[in-house]
């Protein structure tokens, strides 16, 4: 009976419009995403080209090894391609500035600095995984040791990291990624030329040259990364932006 009455009442009277609905909704505290959720969400925003290039390089190495075997010339080909992986990585890290999203991202709860650090972290791990994968594939096929091979492959990569970050940290232009592209091409060509011209570049004789170059570019790259992070902490605006 009661149920019937309720039903009847509903058909006779219209329910009143909600009063102060918006104010009430504003009072509600919605659950917030934690740092882990934020980290995971950022993986999805890494552009496909980073994954594709990394995968292509890995597959390319596999195919190259299958058809031509591991030789010194194969080492310089791989080491000349690796700077392009670092270019894609760096352009990904610097894309907030490239696309003028920096100011918006700086004002968010998880701000530009955190976004940049997460990008550096994710892409660093991806690069390292690709690098170790290639190293493992090659080291078993050459008489070069694991460490020596690692140094030969990573030195041009580190040189490009340093060069590109040097440009990004000093340039105020939003087109720095094109300058970085030129730096990468230069590093790649230079590496190829050195490897072709100096026939004994990968021999024991040049061990010191490689060791010094590796340490120097690693330290310089690290310094530039620290500088980049500091720049994200306190982005310096030029006075033309103060209108």
């Amino acid at each position: 009976m009661k149920y019937k009455l309720k039903k009847e009442l509903k058909t006779v009277f219209d329910a009143p419009a909600p009063a102060r609905k918006e104010e009430f909704i504003n009072l509600l505290e919605y659950p917030k995403a934690n740092r882990l959720d934020f980290f995971i969400s950022q993986i999805g925003y890494i552009r496909k080209r980073v994954w594709i290039l990394s995968l292509l390089l890995f597959i390319g190495t596999l195919i190259g090894l299958y058809f031509s075997g591991a030789s010194y010339s194969f080492v310089w080909v791989v080491s000349s391609v690796l700077p392009f992986v670092s270019l894609v990585t760096i352009s990904e890290i610097a894309r907030s500035i490239t696309y003028n999203m920096d100011e918006l991202e700086m004002s968010c709860k998880y701000n530009l600095l955190e976004v940049s650090l997460i990008r550096i972290g994710i892409l660093g791990v991806v690069n390292l995984a690709v690098f170790i994968g290639i190293l493992l594939l090659l080291s078993g096929k050459t008489d070069l040791g694991f460490i020596r091979l690692g140094i030969y492959l990573s030195t041009p990569y580190l040189l490009n990291c340093y060069g590109s970050l040097f440009v990004i940290n000093r340039s105020k232009s939003r087109d720095t990624v094109y300058i970085c592209g030129s730096v990468t091409a230069l590093v790649s060509i230079l590496n190829s030329l050195i490897s072709i011209r100096i026939y004994d570049i990968y021999t024991e004789r040049n061990r010191m040259f490689w060791a010094i170059a590796f340490i120097m570019f690693a330290v310089l790259s690290l310094k530039e990364i620290v500088k980049f992070i500091k720049r994200m902490e306190d982005l310096k605006w030029n006075s033309s932006l103060t209108a």
Partner: protein
Amino acid sequence: MELVIDRLSKHYKNKIAVDRVSLTLKEGVYGLLGANGSGKTTLMRMICGVLKPTSGEVKFNGIDVSEEKFRDLLGYLPQDFGYYPEFTAYDFLLYLSSLKGLTRQRAKDRTSELLKLVGLSDVAKKKIKSFSGGMKQRLGIAQALLNNPKILVLDEPTAGLDPNERVRFRNLISRLGKDRIVLLSTHIVSDVEYIASTILLMKNGQIIHKGPLEEIIRPIEGKVFECLVDCNTAEYLIANYPIINVREEKDKTFLRLVAEKAPCKEAKAVTAVLEDLYLYYFNKEANKSEQLYGIN
């Protein structure tokens, strides 16, 4: 709810962009008016923690501007913002939701709500690069509201909006100002006049006037005159009084100007509006730019 700005300054090498600004803002809409280069954007950037002040501090209910907690309560629309080229309007809002700490489900719900609110539901899946200036601006307004902010800072929010969109936006801001602090800057004086409960007039990095409309226009109340005069009188008046409006009418010239007392026998006192005050204060700048563009 209190946003305290205490002796906030920003110095560049040879320029003082913001000079010891102190304000206490409570719930309501605050309209920041000033000419180009007066320091509005610099002030807003410092309030949002995007730009480090040379000195001074900004605190909301005791929370410093540099803290994550502060940013969690903030919604900001910069004067000029970009977007990642592959983003649709929907992606853009979802991305910023993740940066604002919204859960995936809440982000989806809020994105749909806000796209509807700003009239972009139909184009939610379209790339932003295909959007007009007004559509981009509406998207910018939507992103500022994603986290239901307690402090909403909008730098030139009505730029690029057509008159209908501006009216809709004004109504939205008026509603939002009931239970939060809304600070907006604009060149469009009427926007401020309609929606701001408090007007802040900024010049040379300082707040030179602050208060509700009635209070702020008091200095020129009874000092605004309109007249229709011949060419010679017009020339004399233009040279000697702050001019608000000039209009050529057949063989005469219509003038609206500010003067202590009637500047000529044809002059009639009229009710002062905010635009009169704005133009009165920024007359020098206006004249400078007129000279620059060869208007005089």
